[in-house]
């Protein structure tokens, strides 16, 4: 069967086997290999994507459920994702990188919410994503730094924008 969806801002139309999971279609026909498969049972979070703006584990969805959806993967370019990426580089928020795609998308979604967030909130937010390498501390710090930088940037933008 063929399905159409928007992936990272671009309209895509792909031929799929109807049994395929969204994670498999992203990695296979769509060639977006930054989405990782670690368990296929929704436990590890390595396949996390943004689906119509909400976090989803793409191994828990059939690809056909993404018909006409707006999907964002780690390959997506946005200001929030760039801020998070830089913060993960500086605070060493990754080791092997296998969970990193999912962690960065969770963090970007937190930035999008633009709310006050504590370290405990960050731990809660990433609790659906397993990391076996870091012990999580550097991921939490990376996200804290990204949130701080993001709110600085927003403040700066609102100050810079002409009144009225």
């Amino acid at each position: 069967m063929r399905i159409a969806m928007k992936v990272n801002g671009v309209a895509r139309d792909v031929e799929i086997d109807e049994r395929m999971l969204l994670a498999e279609v992203l990695r296979g026909p769509l060639g977006l290999k930054g989405t990782r498969i670690g368990c296929l049972t929704g436990d590890c979070g390595a396949c996390t994507i943004l689906f119509n703006g909400e976090l989803r584990k793409s191994c828990l969805m059939l690809a056909q459920a993404a018909r006409d959806a707006d999907v964002q993967t780690i390959e997506h370019c946005s200001t929030e994702i760039d801020v998070v990426r830089e913060a993960f580089v500086e605070a060493h928020g990754f080791q092997c990188g296998f969970c990193t795609s999912g962690m960065i998308l969770v963090a970007a979604e937190l930035l999008n919410r633009d709310q006050e967030v504590s370290a405990a909130d960050i731990r809660q937010a990433i609790s659906g994503n397993l990391c076996r390498c870091t012990g999580y501390d550097n991921i939490v710090v990376s996200i804290q730094n990204a949130l701080a930088r993001n709110s600085d940037q927003r403040n700066k933008m609102s100050q810079d924008s002409p009144a009225g």
Binding site: R19, D43, E90, C96, F98
Partner: protein, 793 residues
Amino acid sequence: MPTLAEQSAVSSSIPRIDAHRYVSGKPVYTSDLLPAGCLHMALLRSPHPRARIVSLDVMKAKAAPDIVEVVTAVDLDDLKPIPAALPFRSDVEGRGTIVGRCLADGEVCYIGQPIAAVVATSVHSAQAALDLIEVEYQPLQAVLDFDEALDAGAVAAHPGWATNVVARDEIHRGDFEAALRLADVVVAGELEFAPSTAAPMEPCCFTGDWDPALERVSLTGTLQNPHTTRWMIATALNIQETAVRVVAPPLGGSFGLKMAGHPEEVLVCALARFLKRPVNYTEERWETLMAPCRRQKHRFQIAATRDGRILGFEDQFVADVGITGPGNGWSMPLVTATVFPTVYDVEHCRISATLIATNSTPWQPIRGYGKEIGNTVMERAIDLLAAHLRMDPVALRHLNLIAAGDFPKKLASGLNLDSGDYPTALEKLTKLFGYDAWRHRQSKQRQSEKVIGIGIAFELTPEGGARPGAFPSGFETATVKLLPGGSVQVLVGVTSPGSGNETGIAQLVAAELGVDARSVQVVQGDTDVTPVGTGHASSRAMLYGGTAAVLAARDLRAKVLLCAANILRAPTEGLSLEASMIRDSEGNGVLTLQEVSHQAHTNPIIVAKGTELPLEATRSFQPINVSVIPDEKGRIATYSSFPYSVHAAAIELDRETGSVKVLDYACVHDCGVMINPMLVTGQLKGAIVMGIGAALWEELAYDDQRRPLARRLKEYLLPRAIDLPEIRVGHMSTPSPYHPLGLKGAGESGVGGGIAAMLSAVADALGERRAALTRCPATPPTLLDILHDTQPF
């Protein structure tokens, strides 16, 4: 003349040189590299711990849609056995050799043993066809537990063996019986470890391919030890190593699991050669979880004076290593035995280890490599002694630590401790943790339903394993090249599990050549390109591989300076390399590195006069603090380096539910000189959390037939972010006097301390019932059994 360590003072927490690739989803793992037209393999695995295969019919499976081939042992009879990575010579009577085969031939001896391989054009079709294979089994009596394995009438778990003893070790120092006579108190205890597993986020994945023009096989896979794997494949396929190329792309974590010796490494190569097409095998999570280890049962005694001076320590343990395969996971309990009495000055020691075969899945290696178990047992004994003497556990440890001035100091096994300052580490830890404040808080909450427990634990982590006979072992090699265009490339035999050792190696080389570390390319994991080496294991990447790179970079620097001198028609004295420039004695830049390299390679007669081209150097490093000639007790010492750490934890035990919440954790760590403290800290924190998981939640559970019950990450509970507090870390540095850069090795330390500190804290929370904690992990059911036990303690 400054020492090598002083010359290499490059300690700097720069970000990973490959960081931007990693945060953009662009590291290319094995599963991202499937060639066009790649076939997929699924494995039919034994449902019986032991059975004779009466009949095996694959005809229906072969006829199913998308199926290319179905293969059983009969089809692979031209394969030789896979050689063992550690060909351990045992004097145990009746013990056979360790033989690795890809598919079971006539008999299965553990649940999960591959019997048939289905190869299809889609992974789903391959898996679906497994159900069409018809097998008739005749179940045979199996050895299911180590308690029955040594009974007089027990059958042998291994076909062709006459015993279930895989190996034994006895370690004696002094006279433990005399210690018992001299002691005022003797405290005994038991500790049993349930199986746990490495569980990296990336499952194992192997792709075999066949090059018809060159008549070569290639394996691209999740591999810690590519050169070892190449040797195993060449041996099993009965071809030259030149006809095999092994490529190890970046790993999505490994923690020991991906060391050489999985039969699937060889199987995909055999099938690719047979079918003349690429074949991939990607584990499902339940298969990744079929990699048990750590199942050990210890009985220990500790003898001391009434004022707390430890006189003697004894530990007798058995380890259930399952069926031994070509990988070396089964050998980890042999290392457990060698770490006693860890950081403590104990004169009389008696250690006895028995490794037992049962009909269960072969062990795979895990971070800690048995050392984490020895450390946990030692700390448990100290805690029980402290409770018996009603002494503070920190004070008792202080009283018995090896003094800072007593190095080098031998362990009972003969391992030679290089350096350290354990008392200072303990003092720093109690301050960092706020030990007194935590004890105060604990005393105020003693009557509550939720009680606080405080744990303390040392971990001694022997590193740089160089066991003779293992392939390969006690050396690492690096080639450093200045390419004609001026860029720097390093080829090393060590690999990375994702720890960032390529960045550390780049930093070391960059410091020697006066270039930016970010401009240095480090090439790892390709047997056609990189020097023969062990890959990664035993924290050797920086310890041995990084050191080889420094030595090679120094040779290269001398060549470059000579070429520069030839260009300048000046002596080399006074010339130096800094910021990619050749500098004169006043520090003025006189030539770029790029100019020198280009001129040397294009105008060699003049510019390279007196040296050899190309501008590259290869050096190897071997450790000195090992001894491979048996001493008077017949022992060898094959770890060169001894990082250590001391840990403190506070937990809250809910007496109603048996659940444990980790409130606080602090660690002081010493791995000698650190190249990149940020990366070392990252490794340490990850290792500690792995230890916390193994102590509290992680368990590979089985039913009474050894069928795995943990098949998903819902049943094998890894630590999640909400389960953990911030891990607070402090570092010390006592450089190793035996290592040219003062390194001791980082990356493995922390697992043992994490397990031991957690058990210590849980036992502390149990108060008067602490001795009843005899099992790891300390899960809620285990703790409820202890809390609800009405027997007098």
